[in-house]
């Protein structure tokens, strides 16, 4: 007897079949993982379970009962809660307001804020999260948003919790904490469905796994029976390199340097504090750090989205401090921004248009006064092919692409312009392992060509695998630098937590 069972569940978007005759089976009290490539149809399936999408065909059984879920309310009433891949929170509301949205506590008609805060505080304590209920969502780091989403569901006392890529945006510590929490929840009798691209996490926390490929279930296995490699193969249909090979770096001249960079915002908060570093040709410099320690601001300043209040940025011996992104790209710097759908792409524009944005005034697409549509289309087809972007229709909007494929559009655009330096922020967030392999290969080959990469990632393993050198940011400044080959996760962890004298302590002793 399954707590969730679907029979021949099918979802079509127009002529495109996103889910084809899916028979999902989840047992009560287990953690069930769903894996699959980008665009395989995982989110679509979950959205149907949560009432956000209506199936084209097929049936859903919850606790053995045939149900029709027409909206999230129905789902919640059936005890199903969902944390979405793209968070659904109201930015100007506080954490407690977001958690209680739709279930406010009132006194008469007036909202009882005091009581609400108290209730939410208790809830937070119960699950051991470290967040302040009175903070506004727009001011908290993305990891906190994740927890708010989970709390929102836990407050509603759901039996079944669906988590769509919950770990994509978390730091390793946060991931550990989350997995522990999930375990506790299972212990408490809840059923959990988790979608993730990180097969290590699947191994660590799940009881069983369903693998989806191109909208169909390929296999359902018990976690203990498979290895990460097996899963990867099931997903992609071929063997996947879990770590990309990297030859010894051939370090060249200094290409890019940042001197005494500082940013003080309107509220007189110092977001960046005297940041200094340099990137040389032939190397990949990684920037590690717990989210919220100034990496975002650093990238914003370096990519021309924000102005610094102090300091100097040099590229090829040219002072490019406070250059807007237009000029930065012109100098041969490729930009892979942190926020995919805000700064990297435009959902409502075509794939071809997204593939030219930022370089739309170069003669690659015709002249400034006349675009050549053949060139634009050729560019699109070439990049879709070269970068293996999986599209339903090449003529469609980027908004129709799955998260990972959308990211590939950015990568394709920036790398195809032959940059000398790439500034990449979270380049593989939400991307499936096959694509991660691909993106890493691209960045490394760039480095091998005597070019350089500056990469920021909250994913420690990514930083460590990819970089030659790593700098660690803490509270807006650089707290330390390590050699990627020699360092350990522990060492980085200490630095990220702001502890610098660790090594000295060891040496002394």
């Amino acid at each position: 007897m399954y707590i969730i069972e679907t029979k021949n569940l099918t979802k079509k978007f127009g002529d495109f079949t996103a889910n084809n005759k899916i028979n999902l089976q989840v047992k009560e009290g287990e953690i069930h993982a769903i894996v699959g490539e980008n665009g395989a149809g995982k989110s679509t399936l979950m959205n149907m379970l949560y009432g956000l999408l209506q199936p084209t065909e097929g049936e859903i059984y919850i606790k053995g009962k045939h149900v029709s879920i027409n909206n999230p309310r129905d789902a919640i009433n059936l005890g199903i809660g969902m944390v979405h891949q793209h968070f659904k929170l109201v930015p100007t509301f506080t954490i407690f307001e977001n958690i209680l949205l739709g279930d406010e506590l009132t006194k008469g008609i007036r909202i009882n804020k005091k009581k609400e805060i108290k209730v939410v505080k208790e809830l937070i304590e119960k699950y051991g999260f470290n967040i302040n209920p009175k903070d506004k969502i727009q001011n908290v780091p993305i990891g906190t948003e994740q927890r708010v989403e989970i709390l929102k569901m836990l407050y509603r006392n759901v039996d079944i919790l669906i988590l769509d890529e919950p770990t994509a945006v978390l730091t390793p510590q946060e991931v550990d904490e989350l997995l522990i929490s999930l375990n506790e929840l299972r212990e408490a009798g809840k059923t959990i469905i988790i979608i993730t691209h990180k097969l290590g996490e699947v191994k660590r926390c799940s009881d069983s796994v369903t693998v989806i490929r191109k909208g169909e279930i390929v296999d359902r296995v018990e976690t203990k029976d498979v290895t990460e490699k097996d899963l990867a193969k099931l997903m992609v249909g071929r063997d996947v390199l879990l770590q990309v090979e990297k030859p010894e770096p051939k370090i060249g001249d200094e290409l890019f340097s940042v001197n005494n960079l500082s940013v003080t915002n309107k509220q007189k908060v110092r977001l960046l504090d005297n940041v200094n570093f340099a990137v040389k040709r032939g190397e990949i410099l990684g920037v590690a750090g717990v989210e919220g320690n100034g990496q975002s601001q650093l990238i914003k300043v370096l990519t021309g989205l924000m102005k610094c209040t102090n300091g100097k940025v040099t590229y090829k011996d040219k002072n490019i401090t406070n250059y807007p992104s237009e000029k930065i790209r012109k100098l041969g710097i490729g930009i892979i921004p942190e926020d995919r759908y805000k700064h990297g792409l435009c959902r409502n524009m075509k794939i071809s248009e997204n593939l030219m944005a930022g370089y739309h005034d170069t003669d690659k697409f015709g002249s400034t006064y006349h675009y050549n549509y053949k060139k634009i289309r050729d560019n699109r087809d070439e990049l879709i092919n070269d970068f293996d972007i999986r599209v339903g229709s090449a003529d469609g909007d980027v908004g129709q692409l799955s998260g990972g494929n959308a990211q590939k559009v950015i990568i394709a655009r920036e790398l195809s312009m032959n940059p000398d330096l790439v500034i990449a922020s979270q380049p593989t967030r939400g991307v499936d392992i096959g694509s991660i392999e691909f993106i890493h290969k691209q960045l490394i080959s760039l480095r091998n060509d005597n070019k350089a990469v500056l990469v920021v990632s909250s994913e420690l393993s990514e930083v460590m695998n990819l970089s030659d050198r790593i700098i660690v940011m803490y509270k807006g400044s650089i707290i330390g630098e390590v050699n990627a080959k020699e360092t350990t996760k522990e060492e980085l962890g200490y630095l990220m937590a702001g502890i610098t004298d660790k090594r000295e302590v060891e040496n002394d002793g």
């Binding site: 029709s68 989205l305 805000k342 990297g344 435009c346 248009e353 739309h360 005034d361």
Partner: protein, 356 residues
């Protein structure tokens, strides 16, 4: 290339015509209520708007100014900039054209016309520069500023017309422009004039800008996602200013067309709200120049046919705006998009019923 989907196209046409038919039906009821014969009334409308050369010409004449204001608004709206000040920019542009029209004397006709239009373009653009700069530099809501400046523009032209350049002929109008600044007509019995050709040229230019130029690409990107536009190097602050100015320039041309082609002088309060009509037209035409031409033509038919309906049958003027309002209601709906939602909802309801 995608193959032509006839089913899709015929569906599109069907859903376009359906609302018009519906609006006319409701209109027919009101015509009966007002004591007239709807068949006679609509017949007059149809004849007045479409039958015969001069009727057709008059329809094109009625759509001329709103083609241009529609384009002016589309340029801004497409970039998500709410330029509600096209009316005011048009007034100032019209005044500038009239000023050059009556002050410069003895110029060859073509040159004079070009100078007048240039003046309108410059003045319309400069006036739109104010909300543009306020938006681009200080992030001041352009919708509010343009609404406010409309009043200022109209008051200012009123003043100039009534006191500085008053013709002395007993009504609020400036001196007449020189004959050399006239935009000639195509035939004596219709007011259709070269302003229409200018409107078509503007539609082509805007089409070209949207489709083939960097500015067009950036307008689209800014309209869809400003942060994305900024991050991909489009300098949205300066672009906001430029886009507002381009919009204002087009508004100026709309004004110049009225002065040089119709009134041959500036008349205070000459516009019955072309700027507002332009807004509806831009939106109905989905900010697309071809769509705008079609929507403007449709409005031209309504207006020209409407006046024939009043002249010939005596249907009250207010009824024409009621029918117009009704049609706009129905056209506002994106039937193709809603249709799917509607059908699937019906199906769902049906399914639920069957299951009990």
């Amino acid at each position: 290339m995608a193959k032509i989907n006839y089913k899709q196209i015929s569906k599109k046409v069907f859903y376009l015509i359906l609302p018009v038919i519906f609006a006319f039906l409701v209109g027919a009821i009101l015509i009966v209520v007002s004591g007239h014969n709807p068949i006679e009334a609509y017949g007059a409308m149809f004849r007045g708007a479409l039958v015969g050369k001069s009727a057709l010409y008059n329809t094109l004449f009625s759509s001329t100014p709103i083609i241009v204001t529609g384009l002016a608004i589309a340029v801004a709206f497409k970039a998500n900039l709410f330029n509600m000040g096209v009316e005011g920019q048009m007034y100032l542009g019209a005044f500038a054209a009239a000023y050059v029209g009556f002050t410069l004397k003895g110029l060859p006709p073509v040159l004079h016309v070009i100078l007048c239009i240039l003046a309108a373009v410059v003045v319309g653009g400069l006036f739109a520069l104010i909300p543009g700069v306020l938006k681009g530099r200080f992030n001041v809501n352009e919708m509010v500023v343009t609404i406010m400046l409309n009043y200022v523009a109209i008051l200012l032209t009123d003043y100039l017309t009534n006191f500085v350049f008053y013709s002395g002929e007993g009504y609020a109008a400036t001196y007449p422009i020189e004959q050399s600044a006239y935009l000639p007509r195509f035939m004596k019995t219709s007011q259709l004039n070269w302003a229409f050709i200018i409107a078509l040229i503007m539609a082509c230019i805007v089409y070209y800008i949207f489709k083939y130029t960097r500015l067009g690409f950036e307008i689209k990107a800014i309209g869809h996602n400003v942060s994305f536009a900024e991050a991909t190097g489009m300098n949205t602050r300066n672009k906001a200013i430029i886009i507002m100015v381009v919009s204002g320039m087009l508004a100026g041309i709309a004004g110049a067309g009225e002065v040089l082609g119709v009134h041959h002088r500036f008349i205070a309060g000459f516009s019955p709200g072309y700027g507002w009509d332009g807004m509806t037209i831009a939106l109905l035409g989905k900010n697309n120049p071809i769509g705008i031409l079609i929507a403007a033509l449709f409005f031209g038919i309504l207006k020209n046919g409407g006046s024939t309906m009043e002249l010939m049958v005596g249907v009250p003027r207010s009824l024409i705006s009621i029918i117009q309002g009704l049609i706009i209601f129905f056209l506002a709906v994106d039937y193709l998009n809603t249709e799917f939602g509607f059908m699937s909802r019906l199906k769902l309801m049906f399914r639920r019923k069957v299951r009990g």
